[in-house]
């Protein structure tokens, strides 16, 4: 328990930063104390973490550093592109994180507290600075790790690090300035106004006896999409996008990747809405098949859209029809398995995620070794999960 003297010292400190910093420090201290109190569990986690780290270390030693180094050398030859990609990433990261903090300071539990505006400004500045430095450090460590694994001289290292760092800091700075400008505007502008009315109202998506569930899933998807929930995937796409492709092939690849990124988000949002809808409807006499039918429609629609977009992308890359059909079937079966697990573990979403990952990997392995059995296995597992989900109260 902190002493009165400690509080007196705190109070005497000049209000250089927002007290939110003290809050973070105390939360961290509480967490550490809890870890110490629950020491058997902590020891287990430490041992398990160390074992996992050792496994990762062994895996990293088997990575072909020269091959990655070659890719990075090619990337380093386009410093403007790398700088731009990291600038976009830095902007999105810094803008979103600083805006979240600003919202919390102005609209959260500190909203009415008498905190000097300069202290708030300094705290935001420090937060943005530390976050950017940490991001830059991670980039440096990843690249340094590749250098350590590479047997050839890594001449690409410094140019690549410089381009990425300059882009990252410039993007972060721009993101911070944008938030500062928003902060000077009216407070209620901090609450992002989302217009989530659909362009085309698809009445068929509404279940007759359970309407608006599909719209709930759609709105959740849109909210996450707009808040930049998959920005890192776009960054990855930007970094790994091959150069020297024909324009229509590049458009095709872009279509395919964007469709997959969006569909991943839509599926995850739909599953999260399922969990929340389960809690909302907990006391209602709602038969499971109706709930399943109501929550299936939006992901089904999303799969159709992702399949069509992805198919167009594949066709632009001169893919054969069988590949196109295989792509649609593969994401369809994977999604079906994931959805059925979400229904089955609708009260334990964490278990659904772990099992979905494990079972999709298992089906992929079977597809690699015994291709004809993979769809059968996926359908069988999905049917089994659906039946179990239906048998639950």
């Amino acid at each position: 328990m902190p002493t009165t003297a400690a509080i007196a010292t705190l109070a005497q400190m000049p209000a250089y930063f927002h007290p939110r910093l003290q809050e973070s420090r105390r939360v961290a201290a509480n967490r550490l104390r809890r870890l110490a109190r629950q020491w058997p569990q902590t020891v287990f986690h430490l041992v398990a973490g160390a074992a996992l780290l050792a496994l990762v270390g062994v895996g990293v030693l088997h990575v072909d550093g020269d091959r990655i180094g070659l890719v990075l050398r090619l990337l380093a030859e386009q410093p403007a592109f790398i700088g731009l990609a990291f600038a976009v990433f830095g902007f999105a990261m810094c803008r979103n994180a600083t805006l979240d903090l600003l919202q919390e300071l102005h609209l959260g539990w500190w909203g009415a507290a008498p905190v000097p505006p300069e202290a708030t400004r300094r705290s935001l500045h420090l937060h943005a600075l530390l976050q950017t430095a940490l991001g830059n450090l991670i980039v440096f460590l990843v690249l340094a790790c590749v250098v350590a694994l590479s047997r050839h001289p890594a001449t690409w290292f410094l140019p690549l690090l410089a381009a990425a760092s300059v882009g990252f800091w410039l993007g972060s700075g721009a993101g911070y300035l944008v938030v500062r400008r928003i902060g000077r505007q009216r407070r209620d502008k901090l609450v992002q106004q989302h217009v989530s009315t659909p362009l085309v109202k698809l009445a068929a998506l509404d279940h007759a006896r359970l309407p608006h569930l599909a719209d709930w899933q759609r709105r959740e998807t849109l909210r996450r999409w707009r808040s930049g929930g998959r920005n890192w995937q776009f960054l990855l796409l930007g970094l790994l996008f091959p150069t020297g492709m024909l324009p229509w092939q590049a458009i095709g690849l872009l279509l395919l990747c964007v469709a997959l990124i969006w569909y991943g988000l839509a599926l995850r949002s739909s599953e999260d809405v399922m969990v929340r809808a389960t809690q909302l409807f907990a006391a209602l006499p709602l038969p499971f098949p109706r709930f399943a039918a109501g929550t299936l429609r939006y992901p089904l629609f999303a799969w159709l859209c992702a399949s069509l977009l992805g198919a167009a992308g594949l066709l632009l890359q001169s893919a054969k029809l069988v590949v196109v059909l295989g792509y649609a079937a593969a994401i369809g079966l994977g999604s079906l398995l994931s959805l059925c697990l979400s229904w089955r573990y609708r009260h334990r979403p964490g278990v659904a995620r772990v099992r979905a990952t494990a079972e999709v990997l298992l089906v992929a392995l079977i597809a690699y070794q015994l291709p004809p059995f993979a769809p059968l296995l996926a359908l069988g597992l999905a049917a089994r999960h659906y039946l179990v989900a239906r048998s639950l109260a």
Binding site: M1, A11, G111, A112, P114, P117
Partner: protein, 248 residues
């Protein structure tokens, strides 16, 4: 100097105008209830006068300090109960109080706050993390945070929600003592008139973004002494007279 002075306050969310020129003055020692149907703008008004929302037009002064031009001084003179849903789950109640005491430049948690915590049966929760609290216990902490340092103006939004009868009674007595002995002004937004009926010295009705009726102490006393009516009945009649919409 009034404890609260609001003049021509206008606030809108996008194109939806919620407050349409609100004027209100509270003198030190007044215990006022702000009533109105759901969606009438009570919470928006309170959030504006706490400096959480910035109104498009109008002036708010807390004990002489202008909320727009001298925000820090205005907030130092205001106690605003924290919404229980916004409390940090991983801090203990004592840590929350210590942080707010620090923000208000107090050396420690004031004895009066600890006494109120005892009266609200909150003391045994002080060293538990907020995540272990029930709704009522969170509400108590939110109120304690609002009252810390006993500033000249105290603003509470539905403070009795989730409180057990003993705690609600202790809180009301404490607020009355603050108004009578310390000269604090209290503005309490509520639907539950019966909980405030015996304690308030003034009542204002917010409807359609405007304050349409103001009952002073004399008017409230007259209602209390009339055996054929009650404050609740008078309020309902006023709501019907002004054509209050049912937004709930």
């Amino acid at each position: 100097m009034p404890a609260l002075e609001i003049a021509g306050l206008v606030h809108a969310y996008g194109t939806h105008r919620v407050l349409e020129g609100v004027d209100l003055r509270l003198q030190p020692g007044e215990f006022a209830a702000l009533i109105g149907p759901n969606g009438s703008g009570k919470t928006t008004l309170l959030r504006c006068l706490a400096g959480i929302l910035q109104p498009q037009q109008g002036r708010i002064a807390i004990a002489g300090a202008d909320m727009r031009s001298d925000t820090l001084a205005a907030k130092q003179r205001l106690g605003f109960a924290v919404d229980p849903t916004l409390l940090p789950a991983l801090l203990t109640g004592r840590q929350c109080l210590e942080l707010f005491a620090g923000a208000r430049e107090l050396g420690a948690i004031p004895a009066a706050t600890l006494e109120l915590a005892e009266a609200l049966a909150f003391t045994r929760w002080l060293d538990h993390e907020v995540q272990a609290y029930s709704l009522g216990t969170r509400q108590k902490l939110g109120i304690l945070l609002g009252l810390i340092g006993e500033p000249p103006l105290i603003v509470l939004d539905e403070p009795m929600n989730g409180l057990d009868p003993l705690s609600a009674f202790a809180l009301k007595q404490h607020l009355v003592r603050l108004t009578r002995e310390h000269g604090c002004a209290v503005l309490l937004a509520t639907h539950a008139l019966e909980v405030a009926e015996r304690f308030i010295s003034r009542c204002v009705l917010l409807l359609g973004g405007r304050l349409v009726q103001d009952w002073d102490t004399a008017a409230l006393d007259a209602i209390r002494h009339d055996p054929d009516t009650s404050l609740e009945q008078v309020m309902v009649e006023a709501l019907q007279r002004f054509g209050a919409p049912r937004n709930d």
